[in-house]
Amino acid sequence: MLAFSQPLKASGIIFNVQRFCIEDGPGIRTTVFFKGCPLRCPWCHNPEGISAAPQIVLSKTRCMNCGSCIEACSTCAGDHTLENCARCGLCAEVCPTGAREMVGRTWTVDEVRSMVLRDRIFYDSAEGGVTFSGGEPLCQPDFLIACLQACRSEGVHTTLDTCGFGARDKLLHAAELTDLVLFDLKILDSDGHLRHLGAPLEPILENLDALIGQQQRIWLRLPVIPGLTDTDQNLASVLELASGASCIEKICLLPYHETGVSKHLNINKNYDLNLVSPPSDQRMREIAAQLSDAASEVVIGG
């Protein structure tokens, strides 16, 4: 008995909890962002969520050049490029403007639960609730499952936003505790997937099959990255994949946007997609029309 009542994993690394999220599932939601991701999507708009460990983020526009960080630093004094950074976090503690921030810290399940419950009164209508996103929540599977259990026991609607890359048994366990899965599809060709995203496609598709086999409620989400995910061939694959699975309720087309650019700069990373422009409305409508048979609802946006 004791074994069941003990939390699976009582803490994990979270890099943000965002309240009043309105595009991560139905209603008004609180989204919990897990740190760490197995994929390397070049368009990533949360690059600070890729690394599993806490890290320093610097927003240069907010920096007042007061030098407090240099004074406080234990290892990389005077080095603002972050490359030598030992991630001690002292600079963020003293930064007066909050330009330096330690992104990612350990949260207990109880902390997550009580943060999620803060907005409970707003969830009640239109099945609002909590969404676990990232990064990739399946990178911390036991913590994820514990969080899902905690929220579910409070009667909060649970959504899991996943790239689908993770251990099958953990995913299926998590799905049992999840009201809705937002399953992200990107490039549906094995070579392309491996080349652009740095991980194989097959385990993702097998996981999706497994969820469909469980009749899990699913919304497929496709980021529309011109030239990468909106090719005729890729769209045809999405159509084929989605058609016939009645538990796929909706396909959400997420137009590429350039938020990631400044965020990459903030963590001192290169951004490789500078030549891509966001798709036009017209183009988004065309894609929606192309996929209209894939699910009962195809929407632009979350």
């Binding site: 965002q18 009043f20 708009h45 526009t61 007066p96 803060r118 009164i121 707003f122 350039e258």
Partner: protein
Amino acid sequence: MNERTERLRQESLDAVPCISSERAELMTGFYEENHGKYATPVMRALAFEHLCRHKSLWLGDDELIVGERGPAPKATPTYPELTCHSLEDLRILNSRAKTWYRVPEQVISAYEKTVIPYWRGRTLRDRMFNLLPEQWQNSYDAGVFTEFMEQRAPGHTVLDGKIYSKGFIDFKADINQSRANLDFTTDINALDKAEQLNAMDISCDALMLYAQRYAELAEARAEAAATEKRRLELLQIAEICRRVPAHAPRNMWEALQYYWFCHIGVISELNGWDAFNPGHLDQHLLPFYEKDMAVSTLTENGARELLECFFVKFNNHPAPPKVGVTAAESGTYTDFANINLGGLLHDGSDGSNEITHLLLDIIDEMHLLQPSSNMQLSRKTPDNILDHTLRVVRKGYGFPSIFNADAVVEEQVRQGKTFADARAGGCSGCVEVGAFGKEAYILTGYFNLVKILELSLNDGIDPVTRTRLGPRTGTAANFETFDEFFAALNEQLKYQVDIKIRGNQIIEQLYAADMPAPFLSVLIDDCIVTARDYNEGGARYNNSFIQAVGIGSITDSLAAIKRLVFDDHTMQLNELVAILAGNFTGQDVLRQRLLHRMPKYGNDIEEADELMVRVFEAGFAAIDGRPNSKGGAYRIEMLPTTCHIYFGSVCGATPDGRNAGLPLSEGISPVQGADRNGPTAVLKSAAKMDHVRTGGTLLNMKFTPELLAGDEGINRLGQLVRSYFKMDGHHLQFNVVTAKQLRAAQAAPGEYRDLIVRVAGYSDYFCDLSEALQEEIITRTEHQGF
């Protein structure tokens, strides 16, 4: 709008606000001739009658509803018996950059030759300032509080449904009955009461006379009418003016015209605050609308036209001009007539109806500055009414504002009103709660919470004027604990509230004795039955409000003091006080830390919100339940109008990182830009205050149009509103910002830090986005939604 109402609306928008000396001259002439002949209430009533008999009448070419306070739209009278403008005041009104009123030469000369020579030294304001103690004057001069009644009369009230079933002939019968009930053998106040009733009686005749003059004017105009259609309209106007206000109205047109005569009567008798207000207009009009439609004497378009003509009349009446501090605390043409929609019926059932939708359409289509409008949203109000309201809100006019009708009832029942009276009540002015038609609920002045903080940090001395205003409660160096410091703050607070209330009592009693309002008293229960004037406690309920300003600023300041000085011991309180005195000169790092790294109200963080509650409770304890001089009690309100700007200008730098002279937080909103956890956190923080024990609170929120786009956006906003009201929040008002404002946000990001924009797939704070992304969003805003 049809062609007529389009034209009337445009004429109203184009009309130039100006000063008319007609009322001042009529009053001066009447007082010169009659002063000393009559008891004060009778004198006031006869002066009102003199005005109704002699004031010039305006009947615009296309009008269907008639009656203007001045000789033409936006020609604004003055009230020299209360406060007499000096020539300098008039010149300032004419030339000031904002909310100016043109002052014709003829007005200057009338003031110079007639008005000023008679009224100088005789106005209520002159007497008031002679009577108010020095201590009051010092606190007033330093900006601890303002005083509403120094230039304008108590008013703040709203009409209920009584005029829709009773004419003024019926009110005269009630007055006669009350007179008959007086017993001179046992009642030592019988003569006073008889004179009050005589005054009310004269006031009834005066308004009927005014309507009669309009009937005659309309008939005369009919003879010369350019078209047959207009001739018939004018004849109908004449018939209506002979019918109302003498008798109860029989149809919607008569009902609207009747209310409007009452409105003109109230705002001509005195310059009471918040003009006057029909209250639950949709509820009052429904029986007439249904009846007119059933017998086919009215179409929906006809009803729309009448209502639009009615709305234009409000817009023709800018607030009577003020000068000095009072102008700064409320610098606007708006006179705060605030029409209530929806709400509850007397039996507690849903009060919304088809006229609610009609009025929402009109509010949307006309979007006039006046009248203001609000939705009284009960848990019983259907979602389609909320949806319609939010679709208007989304247009970005900032109205209708939305009130929690259930909380509004609870607030009033706590004050001892019956459920039926509370449900027939609602909100007026900004957010004030009252029992319509039965209550004198008077705002007495704004109260500067941040100045109290300054006094407690400086041993009772105002650091800006360097005057001792409060008791010695200890210097900053002497406080050992935060609780000790808070006790000093509480003592300064109570001391200043006492000063304010002592002044209020003098002013209330002055108005009761010298400035009765017999016409208004006819309309408010139970003035006739008790034979007492509205200003003397004749209303069934009498609440006086003190409106606290700057709760966000004082909370954040206290949170910073507590954290830095008493919890972390990073610095001494007297060091901080010295830095504040220097307005953070050479202390930018500290100032940034105060701005960005301290707990802030509005983020659903206990560390800050607990202090907000503590300050609120201290204010509540100091104010609520204290007796006023009309048999009622004082209540606390949390609203600023524009006073947070004035109060900020008289306060030095504060521990929340605010520089000297900058605005304080407004209403119960967080300090501008201090809320960083999104709208749900703001609502959670604000709801920690116990709204039900206030007389009203004000919360403003700012959204971009994109966030509210589509049915989804309306649903989300509806969920926010309903959730806030589930937590007993009192009022919500939304700003929906445009690209132009986003540009302004780029130019001055510090003032827009709380601005939320939709980015793509998520929302973020506008000022946190890279410049390129900001540019991109601005472009998108102008051309498309997300």
